[in-house]
């Protein structure tokens, strides 16, 4: 079995001579983690600066309902993203059927669709004026929406569907990577024992994939929690919605920070609960490299073949195809009018910011995860977990937590410079795009951290021990032995952060200085002007720019043998 309880090995590593020293690695980690955690700390301070009057009153009015709505949304998402993500990963990893090679990367495509665009596209597609209802009316001669029943997208069920269809790739990617590395041995063991495919899946593969499944689902849930654009558009009253009404309409920023923290506690509970449930288990390969020789897939025939084909087509067609179709329809009406200069500069700005953010986030995640690996001391571990929680906060709220301390820093520096040198440095950081990079690093750290931490966990710590025995230092071990093995995990982390930064709207909207317009901002501006055609062109570009790394990544690092 590939699942090994390596508690003793972990202990041995922790007892390694230089583990508990306050060295450069610990100090760097603590500093970096503190920087990543700064916005959350700021929001905690903000939350405690006000009274709890609003929280108490909301507790007797909207909070119970909003909490219930949020929990139902999360439960629905967990089931649907888990089901779609794990099923499609299982199919493309272990079976041969028509289009399998294309599906192996196409299943990631919906990730490139921002939730706010997906929500818009679904309402257009399934709405009264959309192609489906128009067809129904033409076929049956209806004239009014009251003449017939049609499923409504703008409700809780619709939100579960729309969000699941763009968030399941988180599950797909992490589960597939695990199946790919470790699944074959497990499946062979099951075969030797004479188990059927479905029994191997439920009894061996899913338990094996549990950490990966949990990671993917938790990322999807956190993204759903921080979403406001799609949720508001679909008319679902989650806790996130209450955060905004308390802030914007009741002028109570402390009250809204309190609700945001309640939400955070909910997420922490989820993560801790999952971790507690599989405490003490380590999921690393015992015997080193596993993928030598050809990867055998089972040929599907008849109903199974076409079932697999449809099972993989549906998520791609709905998650990527529907938005692509709707936006493409509007975009082609605009394309004849030529290209906008601002669009070109927005592409460069977006790609540049997202690229820098991906690079920094991956470096920071490597530092944090590696320190946890070689040190594993509880305080550092806890700090790293805490630092990466910003993803579960609504973008606008975390943006506040970022802006307040940075602007204070800018003003303090400016004050000193004015006093001592008589010059004003102005808003050094908050007046520049650096704030946006910082925001993306804070928001998407958990994504990179999850992927890279998962990558480290798959490499047995006995490799480190062996390297130390040969007199290699920690950094040398990292660079020469671990990093080459980690390439798929690093590439996945960079890809996810890049795409997410490219799509990011709410924090960007609030934090950008004069003169910096990203693609997402460009789309937002045009959409709020009702220039849907022009906005569609830019939305398509966001999707396509996100698609390129998906294809490159799956063709190089995750390439099938």
């Amino acid at each position: 079995m590939a699942v090994a309880k390596q508690k003793s090995m972990g202990k041995a590593l922790q007892a390694f001579p230089h583990s508990y020293r306050w060295d450069g690695l610990s100090i760097a980690t603590i500093l970096v983690a503190a920087l990543v955690a700064l916005p959350i700390v700021t929001l905690i301070v903000v939350a405690f600066s006000g009274n709890t009057e609003n929280l108490v009153r909301l507790g007797s009015t909207i909070l119970p309902r909003a909490t219930a709505t949020t929990l139902i949304l999360l439960a629905g998402l967990a089931v649907l993203t888990g089901f779609v993500g794990a099923l499609s990963a299982w199919l493309v990893t272990f079976f041969e059927f028509p289009g399998r090679r294309i599906f192996s990367w196409a299943l990631v495509l919906p990730l490139a669709v921002p939730t706010y665009i997906s929500a818009y596209a679904f309402v257009e597609f399934f709405g009264f004026t959309g192609p489906l209802q128009t067809l129904v009316r033409t076929l049956f001669g209806f004239t009014s929406a009251r003449d017939y029943w049609f499923p409504e997208i703008r409700n809780l069920g619709g939100a579960v569907l729309v969000l699941s269809l763009v968030l399941y790739p988180y599950v797909y990617l992490s589960v597939r990577a695990l199946f790919f590395l470790q699944g074959r041995r497990a499946i062979e063991a099951g075969e030797v024992l004479g188990a059927s495919h479905s029994r191997i899946l439920t009894k061996i593969l899913l338990p094996l994939a549990r950490p990966a499944l949990a990671l993917g689902i938790i990322l999807a849930l956190m993204e759903a929690i921080n979403d406001i654009g799609a949720i508001e558009y679909l008319g679902v009253q989650t806790l996130t919605f209450s955060i905004f009404s308390v802030w914007v309409n009741q002028n109570d920023i402390a009250g809204s920070a309190q609700i945001a923290l309640v939400l955070l506690v909910l997420v922490f509970g989820l993560i801790l609960g999952e971790r507690f449930a599989r405490r003490g288990q380590r999921y690393s390969e015992v015997g080193g490299g596993s993928t030598t020789g050809p990867f055998k897939r089972y040929d599907l025939t008849g109903a199974g073949k076409w079932g697999a084909f449809i099972g993989c087509t549906l998520p791609v067609a709905l998650g990527f195809g529907v938005p692509f179709f709707v936006l493409g329809f509007y975009a082609q009406r605009y394309l004849t009018r030529g290209f906008d200069e601002k669009l070109i500069s927005a592409i460069f700005t977006s790609v540049g910011l997202a690229g820098i953010a991906a690079l920094i986030t991956v470096l920071v995640a490597l530092l944090l995860s590696y320190t946890v690996r070689v040190k594993g001391t509880k305080p550092i571990n806890a700090l790293v977990r805490f630092a990466s929680i910003g993803y579960a906060m609504p973008g606008t709220i975390i943006a506040l937590g970022i802006f307040l301390p940075l602007a204070r820093f800018d003003n303090i520096v400016d004050g000193y410079m004015r006093d001592w040198l008589g010059i004003s440095t102005g808003l050094l950081i908050t007046g520049s795009g650096a704030t946006l990079v910082y925001a993306y690093v804070v928001r998407f750290m958990v994504i990179a951290e999850g992927s890279i931490d998962g990558g480290f966990k798959k490499i047995s710590t006995s490799l480190d021990m062996a390297a130390y025995c040969y007199g290699k230092g920690r950094l040398q071990t990292l660079r020469e032995i671990l990093l080459p093995l980690m390439r798929p995990a690093i590439a996945t982390a960079a890809l996810l952060v890049f795409i997410d930064s490219l799509k990011e709207l709410s924090a960007t909207l609030m934090l950008r200085p004069f003169g910096i317009e990203t693609l997402a901002i460009y789309v937002h501006d045009l959409a709020s002007r009702g220039r849907i055609e022009q906005a569609s062109v830019a939305s398509l570009i966001i999707m396509l720019v996100g698609v390129i790394p998906v294809i490159v990544l799956t063709r190089t690092t995750l390439r099938d043998h």
């Binding site: 009153r57 909301l58 009015t61 909207i62 309902r65 009264f128 004026t129 004239t143 929406a145 009251r146 703008r154 558009y233 679909l234 008319g235 009253q237 919605f241 009404s245 308390v246 802030w247 914007v248 309409n249 009741q250 002028n251 109570d252 920023i253 460069f348 700005t349 540049g352 910011l353 690229g355 820098i356 690079l359 606008t396 943006a399 802006f403 307040l404 602007a407 800018d410 003003n411 004003s424 102005g426 808003l427 908050t430 007046g431 520049s432 795009g433 650096a434 990079v437 909207l509 609030m510 950008r512 200085p513 004069f514 003169g515 910096i516 501006d525 002007r529 009702g530 220039r531 849907i532």
Partner: protein
Amino acid sequence: MSKISYLSATLVCLAGFFGIVAPANAQSGDVNIYSYRQPELIAPLLDTFTAETGINTRVLNLSDGILERMQAEGRNSPADVILTVDIGRLVGIKDGGITQAVESSLIDGNIPSQYRDKEGHWFGLTTRGRVVYAARDRVEQNDITYAELADPKWEGRICTRSGQHAYNIALFASIIAHEGEAAAETWLSGVKNNLARKPTGNDRAQAQAIFSGECDLALGNTYYVGLMRTNEENPEQKEWEKSIKVLFPDTLGRGTHVNLSGMAMAKYAPNRENALALMEFLSSAKAQEIYAEQVFEYPVKPGSKPSALVQSFGTIKPDDLDLETIAHFRAAASQLVDKVGFND
């Protein structure tokens, strides 16, 4: 990779980083605007301003958090003026201490005193009515009151955007101001019971819902009707507009609820002279006419007329409730929306 290639890769990254980050610093000689207003609605005005004065404008469109942002930016804030809608927000930015008083006999002459802050911290540029859109072919009456929206005869026939949207909050606040909180709660529950669907979409989406037959009455702002009727970009909106007629509520009683769009000078405006020039321009007859003709809002300058299109709806009788009173009841209105579960 060799050390040299690592080094050069780092240098390229750094160069790219500063290439993206650098152009952001504030320039002087322009007017820097923090705006909650839709870019489309202010673009024709700013273009005319630049053509007349040679002063360039730079707009940062924000959707939330101008107050918190400017408080944090302090004396280094690049913002010169704030453009916003909703009386609650105008009062809020003054109370938040991010504005400064402006003395201008030109502005005082152009803007009636009920649309100006008593200490000169903000002033209104336009008003808009919160009216009822009614299905042309399914609603016969041509008069309505806000109170009537709670009448069970409209059960399952009313649509509106989110109860927590600023436009609805201001309307509900005016009801609280007029009738007290208890009566407002009864009224709001009544309206909720008449909703055809959960509050969703913007004001235009409500017109679309009347067009599609989902509802017969909707709450909406006056200018959207003009924007839909003249929308060449999305001609389908012309069809939506054709399916509705505008009813001014309470014409025989206290009048129709109106809200303001307005502006204020930032407390630490770095380009004060230019900012004042922009403020005076936007209060002028020329700018007020652009507001009326292109954006379909009601100009506030005495003597400036609404567009012919807007006049065709009929004459608005504005509720003359003190605007700051409405701002005062804003939080109460928002809490009431939660209490009756209006959005659920």
